[in-house]
């Protein structure tokens, strides 16, 4: 049937990336415009609940492959299923979120199905029988309009770019069980949580620290830290602890500049910017970050930007809705206390 849309539901250990529901609601709209049906692809083990949730978020059908061989994400096993089901379902459009798995699977589907990908789009509309999209290029320094031609048309949607979908628990739909594909050549032997998980991509609030966190000469590192680098890292970590407190009160995540990451203050998983994560939270609070172009590229589309910096000429202030010229060691803890009181926490 014309206009069928399938959406990949990205999950890890039974927990869906919230962006999957955003993609589903975009899929709903595209399917409705052309009288097509909307199917959610749910792969994993013990993920029947997600299939049900997908229906509540708007899917007519959930195609559920629930199998031990799919418990761990493996690109080949998942990609084989995406291609097979998209064909069986006569999908005209396949949507993914721009997550690590979504990007990989979209690329694979494009090759398998002889099509292309509209990558990391922030706007998506139908233009006749083509999809027309807007996407950031050069780290968001420019925007490009792109169009898909070949069928099926495949797109990955930037996380948080399409607004929150509505959950309707009264919706009903069909859960169709499908078989897992042939055995994949790779084996997942375990997980290492070397750096813990930092979910910056879908955070609504981010508090970030930069090199300024190490600038607090009043703080005396413990006597057993004698190495100068180690002392600097120790100082900065006191600053990041304050930043973490503020993030916690606000229910947000902790970000960092590359300078802070390169100096070893925090792991790379926190880095925001052109060579870190590109984020677009509702609130971004930059503490002791100058606002180099590569940093701005990663956070410039945040809704409200707040800058706390000692230097009144720091470029970050140009983007900031609110700024405080001052020492983050004074302002950040005071701000945490103020929010605690005002938000009644």
């Amino acid at each position: 049937m014309a206009g069928n849309v399938v959406v990949f539901i990205d999950q890890f250990k039974g927990e869906a990336q919230p962006a999957s529901w955003e993609a589903l609601s975009v899929g709903r709209k595209l399917a409705d415009e052309n009288g097509g049906s909307l199917a959610a692809l749910v792969f994993g083990q013990g993920v029947e609940g997600l299939a049900q949730t997908a229906i509540h978020y708007g899917a007519d059908q959930a195609l559920l492959a629930d199998d031990a061989s799919l418990a761990d994400y493996r690109a080949e096993a998942y990609a084989d299923l995406v291609a097979k089901l998209a064909q069986e379902h006569e999908a005209e459009i396949i949507l993914f979120s721009t997550t690590t798995r979504g990007r990989e699977l979209a690329g694979m589907a494009a090759i398998d199905l002889n099509s292309g990908v509209l990558v990391d789009v922030i706007e998506l509309t139908r233009a006749g029988d083509k999809l027309a999209a807007t996407r950031p290029i050069y780290a968001g320094k420019l925007l490009a309009k792109v169009e898909g031609g070949a069928k099926p048309q495949i797109a990955t949607l930037r996380v948080r770019a399409f607004g929150k979908p509505e959950l309707d628990e009264s919706r009903s739909g069909e859960i169709v069980t499908v078989e897992a594909g042939p055995e994949a050549p790779t084996k997942v032997t375990g997980y290492v949580d070397a750096e813990g998980s930092v979910s910056l991509g879908d955070a609504g609030i981010i508090v970030s620290g930069g090199r300024g966190t190490s600038n607090n000469s009043d703080l005396e590192p413990p006597a057993d830290i004698t190495d100068e680098n180690e002392q600097e890292i120790w100082r900065a970590q006191q600053g990041f602890a304050l930043i973490g407190d503020l993030a916690e009160v606000l229910g947000g995540a902790v970000g960092a500049s590359r300078a802070a990451v390169d100096a070893g203050y925090v792991p790379y998983a926190h880095q925001v910017g052109q060579t870190g994560k590109v984020v677009a939270p509702d609130l971004y609070i930059a503490c002791g970050i100058s606002g180099a172009i590569q940093h701005l590229a990663g956070m410039r589309t945040s809704k409200v930007i707040v800058a706390i910096n000692k230097d009144p000429d720091a470029p970050i202030f140009k983007l900031a809705r609110f700024g405080v010229v001052g020492d983050l060691y004074d302002i950040v803890p005071a701000l945490t206390a103020a929010f605690k009181e005002k938000l009644d926490k």
Binding site: G107, M108, I137, Y138, G149, V188, T189, Q294, R300
Partner: protein, 256 residues
């Protein structure tokens, strides 16, 4: 191990952009090797240092893409190949991947094709997965560390939730992330060697492939909408007073 590593020439990350006749213009900012691809070259070199073998650097682009290849040679790659063809200009990511896969095949006996995480110009982040699919090889994306390599390879892949340890047969493709470790600087000897290197140039017909048709086309490039921000500097009083005012104003924006 024989490793092919893909490196792209891109405008420097510090460049600012304007749109000029529908084309991106980065002023006098230099073109450099894609920063992510330095990690890819580092990974390729580290693997061959440990397990023996050679590294062939590959770039698709114009004559100037040789600069990216020279960087890869100066870091220690053994050989370089430039793929240049007028037809490349019209390719989309999937088309470019088909060309890259053909390069891997022409080089021959490649155990591992290594990519950067993404190009900082087009920002697709898909070449590694796409090339894998064209070749029918496993795709190891976003590799932060290689635990062991031999007949098979075991890597740590970074995902939103942490690192996944994956064992895969070879040949395979992989993309490399920053956690792999700082790329080495080109050595003096390396720079000398690179400046003298003869870099062969392959066209699509040398690769024996047709020009892939583009499934995705770009119709327009524009500057992002200007951000209209009213800057307001909060000042006056103690940190506590400033913080209280700031907290009120943030709450009033309705973003919490």
């Amino acid at each position: 191990m024989k490793i092919a590593v893909f490196v792209k020439l891109v405008p420097d990350s510090a460049a600012t952009f304007t749109v000029d006749n529908g084309q991106p213009n980065w002023g006098d900012a230099p073109l450099v090797i894609n920063p992510w691809d330095e990690y890819a070259v580092e990974a390729a070199l580290a693997l061959t240092e440990e397990h023996g073998g050679e590294v062939v650097a590959v770039s698709l682009g114009g004559e100037n893409a040789k600069e990216a290849l020279k960087h890869a040679l100066a870091m220690g790659s053994s050989e370089a190949v430039l793929v240049s063809d007028d037809a490349l200009a019209g390719l989309d990511a999937a088309g470019a991947a088909r060309v890259m896969a053909a390069v891997v095949q022409k080089i021959g006996d490649v155990d591992l094709a290594v990519f950067g995480k993404s190009s900082i110009d087009s920002d697709h982040g898909m070449s590694s997965a796409m090339v894998a699919r064209v070749l029918g090889w496993p795709s190891l994306s976003l590799v932060a560390a290689v635990q062991s390599a031999g007949d098979t390879i075991t890597v740590e892949r970074s995902m939103e939730e942490g690192r996944q340890v994956v064992e895969s047969p070879l040949p395979a493709t992989m993309s490399v992330v920053k956690d792999f470790g700082e790329p080495r600087y080109p050595s003096f000897m390396g720079i000398r060697k690179a400046s003298k290197a003869e870099i062969p140039l392959w066209s699509l017909s040398d690769l024996g492939i047709e020009v892939p048709t583009a499934a995705v086309t770009r119709s327009e490039i524009m500057a992002p909408p200007k951000r209209e921000v009213t800057n307001e500097i909060i000042k006056g009083g103690s940190p506590e007073e400033i913080a209280a005012t700031l907290a009120d104003k943030i709450i009033a924006e309705g973003v919490l």
